[in-house]
C-alpha cells in the first residue's frame, strides 16, 4: 500500500462517484463501504477498491471482495495447431467433454476463471480443428463468461452518455452520445459562458455542459414541475464549486418574467426539492409523454443509479433516531427542522430572484434544449433571454416537431443559419484480415435543430440612418411586449 500511494493518478476514495466497467457495459455507483453492489450478475463490495488508482482492474473473488489484477497475463495456448476450414467440424453437441456439473464444480471450488477457460479448451475435441480465427473467437467468448474482471473508472460525459444510451435510453429521450457530442460543439460550450439549459434527460445534458465549462461561467437550468432532475448530474462527481455557478428557474415562471409580472412570492411548491438527486420513476415519465401509437415497451426495470438508496438510508436513520429519542428532544428537533426549512425557503427565494435577474439581462451566451416537450414554445420564449450572435441547439427524438420549430423560428425572425441535422454512427471491428463494420446505428439517436441568434428586425423602420439606431431601444421594448407567446 505504501509503495502504491507514491504512484501518480487520482485514487478511488470513499464517497466518490465511480463507474464500473466490464467489457462494454457500464454502471455508475457511489463508492461506499459495506454496500453490496450487483453488476453483470455478480455481487461484490467496493471496500477493497478504496485507495486504488482509477483505471484499476479487479477480479471478483468468493465472498464478494475485489482483488486488483495486474497486467493481463495472456493465456498462451501452447499448441499453435489450427485447422484451415470447417469442412470436418460437425455440430454433434458432444465436442465439450466437461459437463455442466463439472464446470459448476470447478466454480464452487473457487478455481480461477482463467483456469476454467484453459480446461474448457483442453476438453474441447474440436478446438484444434478450428481455424485460428475461430479459436480466437472461442477463447474470447469463454473469457467473457468465466473471467469476471471489473475496471473502475472515473466518470465522464463519454462514459455516462454511453452508459445511459445503452442502459436507460428512455430516461434521456434516446439522445445518443454522438448527438450529445454535436450539441456541445454546435452550442460552443466552453468555460466562461452564461448558458441556458432546458433538459429532461435526467441531468445528463446538464452534466455534460458543466464538464465542458469546468466551473467557469454560469448555467441557468430551466425546469418543469417541482424541481430539476439531476440524477445523472450527480454521477459525474463534480466538486462543490461547480454547483455554485449553477442556477435554476421554473419554466412555469417564464411568462411572468417576460411580461414583467414575476414575483418570487408565488413559487411552485416543491416538497421534494431538498433531495438533490430525486429521480422520476420510469412509469410517470412514460405516462407524461403522450405517445399516440407507442408500441415500443421500455424495459427499464433495473435502476442504474444508486443515489436513491442514499436518500432512503438517511430517512431510515432518521426513523431509527426518532425511536430512540424521547419526546422532548423530538419536539426540539421539529422546531429546528421548521427553522431549517424556513431558512432553506429563504435561501431558495434569494437564489430565484438572483436567477431571474440573470435571465432579465437577456445576454445569455447560448441555449440548449433537450426535453420530452414540444420544442417550439420552449424556443420561442427562451430565445428571448439569449444575446445576439450566439448559438442555440435543440434536440428532439423526432424530426417532425423540429420541422414545425424551424418554420416558426423563420417566421419570427432573429435567427440565422438554421440547420436540421442528424448523425449516424458506425462502429468497426478491426482485426487482422477480419475488419468490417460492427453495427449500424441509424434513426435512434435523435435530431438536432441549430442556429445563431441575431438582432431582431426593427418593425417597419429599417432605415440605415443613425436616427434609426437611436430609437432602437424603445422599439425593441415595445416589440418585446407585443410578442409574448405565452
Amino acid at each position: 500500500m505504501a509503495e502504491e500511494s507514491a504512484r501518480p493518478g487520482p485514487r478511488i476514495r470513499e464517497g466518490d462517484w465511480a463507474v464500473l466497467k466490464r467489457d462494454e457495459v457500464f454502471k455508475a455507483v457511489q463508492v461506499l463501504r459495506r454496500r453490496k453492489v450487483i453488476f453483470e450478475k455478480q455481487w461484490f463490495y467496493l471496500d477493497n477498491a478504496i485507495g486504488h488508482i482509477y483505471g484499476t482492474t479487479f477480479e471478483v473473488s468468493t465472498g464478494g471482495s475485489l482483488q486488483p489484477k495486474k497486467k493481463m497475463e495472456e493465456t498462451t495456448t501452447e499448441t499453435k495447431e489450427a485447422g484451415t476450414d470447417n469442412r470436418n467440424i460437425v455440430d454433434d453437441g458432444k465436442s465439450q467433454k466437461l459437463t455442466h456439473d463439472d464446470i459448476q464444480a470447478l466454480k464452487d471450488k473457487g478455481i480461477k476463471g482463467q483456469e476454467i477457460v484453459q480446461q474448457l479448451i483442453e476438453n474441447s475435441t474440436t478446438f484444434r480443428g478450428k481455424t485460428e480465427f475461430a479459436q480466437d473467437k472461442y477463447i474470447k467468448k469463454k473469457k467473457k463468461k468465466y473471467e469476471a474482471v471489473i475496471t473502475i473508472v472515473k466518470p465522464s460525459t463519454r462514459i455516462l452518455s454511453t452508459m445511459y444510451y445503452a442502459r436507460e435510453p428512455g430516461k434521456i429521450n434516446h439522445l445518443r452520445y454522438d448527438t450529445l457530442a454535436q450539441m456541445l460543439t454546435l452550442g460552443n460550450i466552453r468555460a466562461g459562458n452564461k448558458m441556458i439549459v432546458m433538459e429532461t434527460c435526467a441531468g445528463l445534458v446538464l452534466g455534460a455542459i458543466m464538464e465542458r465549462m469546468g466551473g467557469h461561467g454560469s448555467i441557468i437550468q430551466m425546469y418543469p414541475g417541482g424541481g430539476p432532475v439531476r440524477a445523472a448530474t450527480s454521477c459525474f462527481g463534480f466538486p462543490e464549486s461547480f454547483f455554485r455557478t449553477l442556477y435554476e428557474f421554473p419554466l412555469s415562471k417564464v411568462c411572468s418574467l417576460v411580461s414583467g409580472t414575476f414575483s418570487s412570492e408565488t413559487l411552485p411548491s416543491e416538497p421534494d426539492y431538498n433531495v438533490p438527486v430525486e429521480e422520476e420513476s420510469n412509469g410517470s415519465l412514460e405516462e407524461k409523454q403522450t405517445l399516440i401509437q407507442e408500441t415500443e415497451v421500455e424495459s427499464n426495470t433495473e435502476a442504474v443509479m444508486e443515489s436513491i438508496e442514499t436518500g432512503d438510508q438517511e430517512t431510515m436513520d432518521d426513523l431509527a433516531a426518532e425511536d430512540a429519542e424521547c419526546k422532548e428532544s423530538k419536539e426540539r428537533r421539529n422546531k429546528e427542522n421548521i427553522r431549517e426549512k424556513q431558512r432553506k425557503q429563504q435561501e431558495r427565494k434569494r437564489k430565484l430572484v438572483e436567477t431571474a435577474a440573470l435571465l432579465e439581462e437577456k445576454n445569455a451566451d447560448g441555449l440548449i434544449v433537450a426535453s420530452k416537450f414540444h420544442p417550439t414554445p420552449l424556443l420561442l420564449s427562451l430565445l428571448e433571454f439569449v444575446a445576439p450572435s450566439r448559438p442555440f441547439v435543440v434536440y428532439c427524438q423526432y424530426k417532425e416537431p423540429l420541422l414545425d420549430c424551424y418554420t416558426k423560428l423563420r417566421e419570427k425572425g432573429g435567427v440565422i443559419n438554421l440547420k436540421l441535422s442528424e448523425t449516424w454512427l458506425r462502429n468497426y471491428q478491426v482485426l487482422p484480415d477480419r475488419s468490417h463494420p460492427k453495427l449500424m446505428m441509424s434513426g435512434g439517436g435523435g435530431y438536432l435543430l441549430s442556429g445563431i441568434t441575431v438582432t431582431m428586425e426593427k418593425v417597419q423602420s429599417d432605415a440605415n440612418s443613425l436616427e434609426a439606431q437611436k430609437i432602437e431601444e424603445p422599439v425593441s421594448k415595445k416589440r418585446k411586449l407585443e410578442e409574448l407567446h405565452c
Partner: protein, 313 residues
C-alpha cells in the same frame, strides 16, 4: 470582464479593431474578415466600411452595405472558423471534431497533443475547449504551415494556450513527455507515432485518437496501439445528414370517383376518421405536408476515428 478578453475563447458584445468577424451573407455563404480602422470589405451587396459599419456595433447586428443589401456580422467561434478558414490542407469538420472532443474527454484544463496542425481547424476547437487553464501542443512538419498556424493563433489571441512545434512527430515526437491527458493524430502513418503518443501521455494514462481515411491505416494503427499496451481500442465513423425543411404538395390522383362519390379520395376533410390528418388543407386536388428532405448528396466518408485508452496497468 467582457471588454478586455480574447475573442476566440470568450464572447464579447461589440466589434473592435483587430477582431476576426464573420460576415454572413445568407444560406451557406459567409467569410471571415479582419476588422481594421479604415478597412473596407467588398461583398456582392456592396462595400462594408469597417470604421462606420463594424467597429463599435454589436455582434449579431444587421449591417447595410453600400448597394442597399444587408449582411449579419457574427462573433467568431471555432465552428464558424472551420467553415470559413483558408485551407492549407484537408481539414476536419465539426461532426468529427465533436466526437473527437467528447471521446478524448477534453475539458477546461486538459493538456492535449496534436499532429499535424494542418489548417488549424481542430486546433481552434481544442483550444476553445481546454481554455482557460489547459494547453495544446501541436506539431506540424511542414514549416510554412506551422508558421501560418502560429500567426493565426496570435491573430485570434489564443497564442498563450498553444505551442506550435515544427518537427516530424514520427521521428521526434511531441516535444513533451508525461504531460498530456489526450493525444490526437491526423497524419499519414499514425502507427509510427503511437510510441511517441504513449510517452507524451501522463504516466497514469489518458486517451488517444487517430484519424485515418483508409482502413489499412486503421489496421496498422490498431496493431501498434495493442503492442504499446493501449486498451479500449475502438474504431468509429460518424456521418452527418442534413435535412432541408420543405413544404411538399402531392397531387391527389383522379380515380374517376369524384363524379359518383365526393368522399372517395380518402383525404377528404369531411372524413371523420381522419379529421386532422398529416396532410394540410386539401385544395384543388393536392395535399400539402412539411418534410425534412435529405440533401441530394452527402459526405459519405471523411475518415475512421480510432480511440484508445492508456492506463497505468
Amino acid at each position: 470582464n467582457k471588454t478586455i478578453t480574447m475573442s476566440f475563447v470568450e464572447y464579447r458584445d461589440t466589434i473592435k479593431d483587430g477582431d476576426t468577424a464573420i460576415v454572413f451573407l445568407g444560406h451557406e455563404s459567409m467569410f471571415p474578415v479582419k476588422v481594421q480602422h479604415g478597412g473596407k470589405t467588398q461583398t456582392k451587396y456592396g462595400v462594408i466600411r469597417h470604421s462606420t459599419d463594424l467597429i463599435g456595433k454589436r455582434y449579431g447586428s444587421k449591417v447595410t452595405c453600400s448597394k442597399g443589401g444587408w449582411v449579419f456580422i457574427l462573433h467568431p467561434t471555432p465552428e464558424l472558423w472551420t467553415m470559413n478558414l483558408p485551407h492549407r490542407t484537408q481539414i476536419l469538420y465539426s461532426t468529427d471534431i465533436s466526437l473527437i472532443t467528447m471521446m478524448l474527454e477534453l475539458k477546461p484544463g486538459s493538456i492535449v497533443c496534436e499532429s499535424g496542425t494542418g489548417s488549424g481547424s481542430l486546433s481552434h476547437a481544442i483550444i476553445r475547449t481546454v481554455a482557460p487553464t489547459g494547453h495544446l501542443y501541436t506539431v506540424e512538419f511542414h514549416q510554412q504551415r506551422a508558421e501560418k498556424a502560429e500567426e493565426e493563433f496570435q491573430e485570434h489571441k489564443v497564442e498563450h494556450l498553444v505551442t506550435v512545434k515544427n518537427q516530424d512527430v514520427c521521428k521526434n515526437g511531441f516535444g513533451v513527455s508525461n504531460v498530456a491527458d489526450a493525444v490526437f493524430l491526423d497524419i499519414p502513418s499514425p502507427w509510427e507515432a503511437i510510441g511517441h503518443a504513449k510517452s507524451a501521455l501522463k504516466i497514469e494514462g489518458g486517451r488517444i485518437c487517430s484519424f485515418s481515411p483508409c482502413i489499412e491505416q486503421v489496421q496498422r494503427t490498431c496493431l501498434a496501439m495493442e503492442e504499446h499496451g493501449f486498451t479500449e481500442i475502438n474504431t468509429l465513423e460518424s456521418l452527418l445528414r442534413v435535412y432541408n425543411v420543405r413544404t411538399v404538395s402531392l397531387q391527389i390522383p383522379d380515380l374517376g370517383k369524384a363524379a359518383e362519390d365526393n368522399s372517395g379520395t380518402g383525404f377528404d376533410s369531411s372524413n371523420q376518421s381522419n379529421p386532422e390528418s398529416l396532410y394540410g388543407i386539401l385544395q384543388q386536388g393536392t395535399a400539402q405536408f412539411k418534410s425534412g428532405v435529405p440533401l441530394k448528396e452527402m459526405v459519405g466518408h471523411t475518415g475512421y476515428l480510432t480511440f484508445a485508452t492508456k492506463s497505468l496497468f
